[in-house]
């Protein structure tokens, strides 16, 4: 793509993102994201589910800008808790605890937080540019896809998500199928027949996305957290010396670069995203370090790398969603949910149909990152105060906001019952060591996949071999099978287990 196009597009994006109302929503998203990032036990998925009903009242640009802000804001906030309390505020900050908390105990909390923020900002800028550069060519590729190709691509996406999930691959596969099945509950759009509705009125239009997501993420998180109370040791409520020394900067700069690269690459992969990126980056930093024994004792690279990586990944994971319309993780499934509330079908046509929305969202990410680096550090004191609210009270507040949020969606008390049901279902699967994210992906992709499958069959005049005779579709399917085979081979399995340990 020509450079001038890039600048025209980004110019359009900034003109949208810099409007007063969109700046405001961007700020709200970034601050809410940071807040829930700081609080352990409240994740971005649950928060986005919580705010989905509210976005109904916003213009689509504002809604998506805010939702995006929650995700990358959470990456900034997660590091604050990791450094100060030795608890991951966000699951992508698990590794930041290792060295960040040690730095805080040595009185270098300020430096750790500053480096985390600087790394995140740098990674955010690079990833934003990457989206802007990579999206248009990818979209022109995606426009060549036929329905059969799409169907196979979704299979590949789901399989990759399964392979990347923690724990048992077979169980994750089962969860995907379960999600797909839940996704087709309701009226079959092609024939008008009802499926699995049990004559219950609210199921005729299908299970709503918000109660299911809120149940398996929000309510289930509360149940699981109350079952395992955590201890919070605040290392110190005063953070001094925010400025990192020249040596800190010199040490962390290469780590930030490497983290950004690792994170950007892993973010694009389906099922990847921020968590995997931070783990991979930490492992990489330990490998390239001259003295790996420093890690775990307050090595600044151990903060700089993973924190850059998780922010980069949080942003590049938008690429498959924006270009192909395929969510690669649970957060992107939420973004798709947000788009659908506004009647936007995600896919390659969004860029040409709604250029303002598309480029505005990308530009807002850069602006949001800029806001975060300025707001985040001075506000550390407020975040620390917020951590003082005990979870026993916080859990009740979250529960209330979940219930009233779902109720306000359609003024339907039945849907509040659904979140209780899905909360319970989520807890059962949590205890069975089955992850909920693959289920949510299946749930989003279920109806789309069925539609593409039918369209492919119609276009091929009933010939099912179309899935293997079209080169693109065939290669997606081969890749899916290869991935599955790869994972059952013992060697890969071993490294995967090591990667998910720690």
């Amino acid at each position: 793509m020509e450079l001038s196009h890039l600048f025209t597009n980004l110019g359009l994006g900034f003109s949208v993102a810099l409007s007063m109302s969109n700046l405001f929503w961007c700020l709200i998203g970034a601050i809410v994201g940071t807040a829930i990032g700081v609080l352990p036990g409240v994740g971005p998925v649950a928060t986005m589910a919580l705010l989905l009903p509210a976005t109904y009242y916003l213009p689509p640009e504002g809604a998506l800008i805010m939702l995006a802000g929650i995700y990358y804001g959470a990456q900034y906030g997660g590091s604050t808790t990791a450094v100060l309390v030795n608890l991951p505020g966000e699951s992508s900050s698990v590794v930041t605890c290792l060295d960040g908390y040690q730095m805080a105990r040595q009185g270098r909390a300020g430096a750790a937080l500053a480096i985390a923020a600087i790394g995140s900002f740098f990674a955010g800028c690079v990833a934003t540019m990457l989206i802007a550069v990579a999206a248009p060519p990818l979209i022109s590729v995606a426009q060549q896809f036929g329905p059969a190709d799409y169907c196979s691509l979704m299979v590949l996406g789901l399989i990759t998500a399964v392979v990347m999930a923690h724990g048992s691959v077979v169980k994750a596969l089962g969860m995907v199928l379960l999600g797909l099945l839940l996704g087709i509950v309701g009226t079959d759009v092609n024939t008008g027949n009802l499926r699995y509705t049990f004559d219950i009125g609210i199921l005729f239009d299908g299970i709503n996305f918000v109660p299911i997501a809120m149940g398996v993420f929000g309510i289930n998180e509360i149940m699981a957290n109350l079952a395992n109370p955590e201890h919070r040791d605040l290392v110190s409520s005063k953070v001094t010396g925010l400025m990192p020394t020249r040596k800190d900067l010199r040490d962390s700069f290469p780590a930030i670069l490497r983290g950004t690269a690792v994170g950007s690459a892993l973010g694009i992969l389906p099922g990847g995203g921020a968590v995997l990126a931070s783990f991979a980056s930490y492992t990489l930093e330990k490998k390239v370090a001259k003295d790996p024994s420093r890690f775990g004792k307050g090595a600044i690279e151990g903060v700089a790398g993973p924190e850059s990586a998780n922010n980069a990944a949080a942003q590049t994971s938008f690429i498959p969603m924006l270009t192909l319309g395929i969510p690669s993780n649970a957060v992107m499934a939420m973004m798709v949910g947000g788009m659908m509330i506004h009647g936007i079908i995600p896919g390659p046509q969004v860029m040409s149909d709604k250029p303002g929305l598309f480029w505005g969202m990308i530009a807002s990410m850069w602006i949001g990152n800029l806001m975060l680096i300025f707001f985040n550090l001075p506000m550390v004191g407020i975040w620390v105060k917020m951590l003082m609210v005990p979870y026993r009270l916080l859990s009740i507040a979250i529960l209330f906001f979940c219930c009233i949020g779902v109720y306000s969606l359609n003024n339907s008390a039945d849907e509040v019952l659904l979140i209780a049901l899905f909360g319970f279902v989520g807890y059962v699967f949590h205890k069975l060591d089955c992850e909920a994210a693959p289920m949510l992906l299946g749930f989003i992709l279920g109806p789309m996949m069925e539609t593409y499958m039918r369209r492919a069959m119609l276009l091929s005049r009933g010939d099912a071999t179309v899935f293997v005779t079209r080169p693109l579709s065939l290669s997606f399917l081969i890749a899916s099978v290869a991935l599955l085979l790869l994972i059952v081979l013992p060697k890969v399995r071993k490294t995967r287990e090591v990667a998910f340990q720690e």
């Binding site: 099945l181 024939t191 109350l226 005990p390 009270l393 109720y407 019952l417 205890k431």
Partner: protein, 159 residues
């Protein structure tokens, strides 16, 4: 004798209680899906009917469930572990109470029921702390959703 410790109450032939239950659950959902959807039309290969996609998924679930079940029966794995029924049931009950009360009894009653059940789910509450919290929440709930957003729900049972 070199065996993984597992909770008591297990039949001896079950080596991984978690996998056994999980496999059964998947297979059960798949079977139920097939049975409920037994009349969904298959259509033609040109125009796939309502029943095709669900059948593929249900057979897949049964297959996966079978694999997980067999694995649970043959190999040692984690047991079912400790289930925290108290928070699970009480948090669920809190949401259900809210759902049942919000329309007939109004916001305040629904919130109080939710908060009391929610508090019973956690530990370490003191009456003073909870009362303060509850009052703040009630004011906030009314302020945001009734006064601010103007949601069409009643506040008190008699209003």
């Amino acid at each position: 004798m070199g065996q993984m410790p597992r909770p008591t109450g297990h039949a001896d032939f079950i080596k991984g209680g978690q996998d056994v239950l999980c496999g059964l659950l998947f297979a059960l959902v798949g079977t139920a899906g097939l049975w409920i959807g037994r009349d969904y039309p298959m259509g033609t290969s040109l125009r796939l009917g309502t029943g095709v996609f669900p059948r593929i998924l249900c057979w897949g679930l049964i297959g996966i469930g079978g694999i997980v079940l067999v694995r649970g029966l043959l190999t040692h794995g984690p047991g079912l572990g400790h289930w925290a029924w108290r928070p699970v049931l009480l948090i669920g009950a809190a949401a259900v109470a809210f759902a049942l009360l919000i329309e007939p009894a109004g916001l305040i009653a629904a919130m109080i029921a939710l908060m009391v059940l929610g508090a019973l789910a956690g530990t370490g509450h003191t009456l003073k702390e909870f009362a303060t919290f509850a009052v703040i929440m009630l004011v906030m709930g009314w302020g945001i959703f009734i006064w601010g957003l103007g949601m069409p729900i009643k506040v008190f049972p008699w209003s």
